[in-house]
């Protein structure tokens, strides 16, 4: 069998980024949630918020640690496997990656140390500020990395000299046409992902019977937040789609499953795409609706993939199916959130066993939607790394053999197959322990606190009892 370094490099990138993205999808929202809980604890002084915050901080620290180590892998992928891409685009997008490091990673990593280990070493307001700093860091990280990603989707503010990209206008580079939509859609997706995990775990806490008060507080706040975010996200998704129609029509055609140009265009609900014959088989569709959703008119024209040469079309299958999964998950979420908020009457949302179970089962829905959305947008960008300008096939490192990449891919698969389930079980264990009071109010034995101090200089014990 011939080992193709390009295909294997792409598979490797899929593997390392798809697993990595699960962690920011969770931690971006969780950091804000912790900052919220810390703020409530600081301003109201209620112990329940401190317990809840401490509970989530423990989970956060595991997820964040995994995010750091799987994230360090990412910039090196650009060098090891995509050196031609790096050489061609570095002048434009590398400062965005550097700004991500400078404004986000250090902020997160340093203040996380204080958040995790410093509760008794620093004044309470500093601990709250540390929580804010971590949350701010995660958002800043999203801003810069999505600016870089969006530039690859809808490049702007550049000129090409000798086959390489040079910046002409930084404002246009960063605020390229798809960036505002992608940023909003992704960050809200991350918040929703966290929201559903939090809701699910809150439901479990209630069901377990041991932490009903904590679980109820967690669920109630989260249901309010999601009641706003889920509908907002559906609206943002629509806007993002319209933006894609304008700037990346091939991607839009692929996720709509549209090979032939049509006006009016139907909405294809399901079908089996066949790229070779450029035809959708076993299609189920609703007439007019495609035009209505995308052009907001009954007869608007939607271009089909046949308008472009075959070597400039993305594969239809992955974006087509992934898009449907994403939208389907979104609808499920909306239904659950509306039901939950209606069930506030008589506190049914914490007494209905079936609703609590449904929340638990819905916990991972956000991750599915995030991955599906990522497949839609990234496979939909193919066959380009820089849309319309630089081909994926011309981006790979020229020195690599198929064997090189096969070996590294196996390495990543083996290590991640240990690390990710390991992290999952560790987090599950923390959840099972629940938001116990002991971590915060541990009795001070023999003049020394048992938790959670790593280094405590003498005479620096202020704040331990507060």
């Amino acid at each position: 069998m011939h080992l193709d370094p390009l295909l294997l490099s792409r598979l490797q990138f899929v593997w390392v980024i798809a697993l990595h993205i699960l962690l920011p999808a969770f931690t971006v929202g969780l950091a804000s949630y912790i900052a919220f809980a810390e703020g409530m604890s600081f301003f109201t002084g209620k112990q329940i918020y401190a317990r809840i915050s401490q509970f989530w901080i423990r989970i956060f620290s595991v997820a964040f640690g995994m995010g750091v180590v799987s994230g360090i892998v990412m910039p090196f992928q650009f060098g090891t496997n995509w050196s031609r891409f790096s050489d061609a685009t570095a002048n434009v997008i590398s400062p965005l990656l550097a700004y991500e490091g400078l404004t986000a990673f250090f902020l997160e990593a340093t203040f996380l140390g204080v958040l995790l280990f410093g509760r008794k070493l620093v004044p309470r307001w500093v601990h709250f500020v540390a929580a804010l700093a971590v949350a701010l860091g995660t958002l800043s990280s999203s801003f810069w990395i999505l600016a870089a990603n969006s530039w690859m989707q809808t490049p702007a503010g550049y000129e090409i000299v000798d086959g390489r990209f040079f910046p002409t206008d930084w404002w246009q580079v960063i605020f390229n046409p798809s960036f505002p939509y992608r940023l909003a859609h992704t960050v809200v997706a991350f918040y929703i992902t966290t929201g559903f995990v939090v809701l699910g775990i809150g439901a479990w806490l209630v069901r377990s019977g041991r932490f009903i008060a904590e679980g109820r507080t967690i669920m109630s706040a989260t249901l309010w937040v999601l009641l706003v975010l889920v509908p907002v996200q559906i609206g943002l998704g629509d806007l993002h789609g319209l933006n894609t129609l304008e700037y990346q029509p091939t991607k839009l055609a692929a996720l709509e499953g549209r090979y032939d140009t049509a006006s009016p265009a139907p909405l294809t609900l399901f079908g089996i795409p066949d790229d070779k014959d450029a035809v959708m088989r076993s299609e189920i569709s609703i007439p007019w609706l495609g035009s209505l959703l995308l052009t907001h008119s009954w007869t608007g024209q939607i271009k089909g993939l046949k308008e472009w040469p075959a070597d400039q079309r993305p594969p239809v299958g992955p974006p087509f199916y992934a898009f449907r999964i994403m939208v389907g998950v979104g609808m499920l979420m909306l239904a659950l959130i509306i039901a939950g908020n209606i069930m506030r009457r008589g506190s049914a949302f914490v007494t209905s066993r079936s609703f609590l179970l449904a929340c638990q089962w819905a916990g991972p829905l956000g991750f599915i939607a995030v991955l599906a959305g990522w497949v839609t947008t990234e496979v939909g960008r193919q066959p380009w790394t820089v849309f319309g300008l630089m081909r994926t096939a011309n981006s790979v490192s020229p020195s690599l053999t198929g064997l090189d990449v096969l070996l590294s891919l196996i390495g990543y698969i083996v290590v991640y197959a240990i690390i990710f389930p390991g992290g999952f079980f560790v987090m599950r264990r923390i959840i099972r322990l629940g938001p116990q009071a002991q971590a915060l109010d541990a009795p001070v034995q023999s003049g020394r606190p048992t938790l959670p101090i790593t280094s405590l200089p003498p005479g620096h014990n202020q704040g331990i009892t507060s």
Binding site: G65, G79, D87, P95, F105, T110, G113, F166, Y416, T454
Partner: protein
């Protein structure tokens, strides 16, 4: 054409990148070093102590690696595009090892049933990551096969006897830094033990530095001329002489009651070695092929990032220093994890 800019940003970025990489080497160096010494801790209590001495700072330290990698990409993209694929496997080994040791911090405390597994993961991860970084260094000094703007050699070229020697050198070197850190953070019998381990690391690293110093000029006549031609030999002679003095100083302080001196000595030793490599290779960033100026990114790119870096880097250094201050003092045996 680019408008001619009055300022040459290349020296500025060279300094920033050099400082960034050096800070990475120092900071992650001591916590990888703690991982290297981890295996030789006598019991679980000591292992907890070792782990906790770096738990609040390790991910901040590792972040400098991202800055180093991305900094190279921003300032000298051509060097990034040639060097990183050339050290494909050492980078892979480093990354996978860092993944293992990074999660070991949390997993070890949370997953008592597999504690031994994660203890091993932490030690071997630390050693392998360090060794791989040393191989990258050795391969870099030796240079790569280049055509045009691309590396054209094999992904296995970087593994040579010389690069393996630099790999071993770095394991001893980080071990020494880790010992210096632990001497500051621990006390009593454990500190005495670490002082002894520091002695072994010092011996190892001195032998390796001597071997590399003799081997490098033999490998590369340009480097031999750089150091040995008149009058360079007068200017550069203080570097090896100082290295000898610093090594003696570390040896003495490891046996004295001084707690901060071994770490400072180890830092000085790294600084001198770093200086030695810089003297050998200046002004090349891709040895034998491209200078810093030829590999540099466009002035617009360098200027754009510089504007922010001027404010952000000092801020980062300030709050990093603050976090070290918060966690200052000895680690204690009776504490748990957060």
């Amino acid at each position: 054409m680019m408008p001619a800019l009055l300022l040459d940003f290349v020296p500025i970025w060279t300094v920033i990148l050099a400082v960034g990489i050096f800070l990475y080497v120092l900071l992650d160096g001591f916590d990888l070093g703690v991982g290297i010494l981890y295996r030789f801790a006598p019991d679980t209590a000591s292992r907890n102590l070792l782990m906790n001495s770096i738990a609040p700072v390790w991910d901040g330290n590792e972040t400098w690696l991202i800055l180093g990698g991305v900094g190279l990409l921003v300032a000298f993209p051509l060097a990034f595009a040639i060097i990183i694929p050339a050290v494909y496997f050492p980078v892979l080994i480093m990354l996978l090892s860092l993944v293992f040791r990074g999660v070991a911090f949390e997993f070890r405390f949370r997953d008592a049933a597999h504690r031994t597994f994660w203890d091993h993961g932490f030690f071997f991860g630390s050693v392998l990551a360090t060794f791989a970084q040393g191989v990258v260094l050795g391969a870099f000094i030796q240079g790569f096969q280049v055509q045009g703007r691309e590396f054209t050699g094999s992904s296995f070229d970087c593994f040579t006897l010389f690069s393996c020697l630099t790999g071993v050198a770095l394991v001893f070197g980080y071990g020494l830094l880790g010992a210096g850190w632990l001497i500051m953070k621990t006390s009593g019998p454990l500190q005495q033990r670490v002082r002894g381990q520091g002695g072994w690391c010092l011996l190892g690293v001195v032998i390796c530095i001597a071997a590399v110093s003799v081997w490098t000029p033999i490998l590369d006549p340009d480097i031999a001329h750089r150091w040995l031609d008149w009058p360079n030999i007068v200017w550069f002679a203080p570097v090896p002489l100082m290295t000898i003095l610093v090594a003696l100083f570390i040896g003495r302080t490891l046996r004295s009651p001084s707690e901060g001196a071994p770490f400072l000595g180890a830092v000085a030793l790294f600084l001198l070695s770093y200086l030695g490599i810089a003297i050998s290779l200046w002004p090349m960033i891709v040895p034998h092929y491209y200078t810093l100026w030829q590999a540099a990114s466009s002035p617009k790119t360098q200027a754009f990032l510089l504007v922010g870096t001027v404010f952000l880097l000092p801020t980062i250094l300030l709050y990093t220093a603050w976090s070290y201050w918060v966690f200052r003092g000895k680690v204690r045996a009776d504490m748990g994890y957060h």
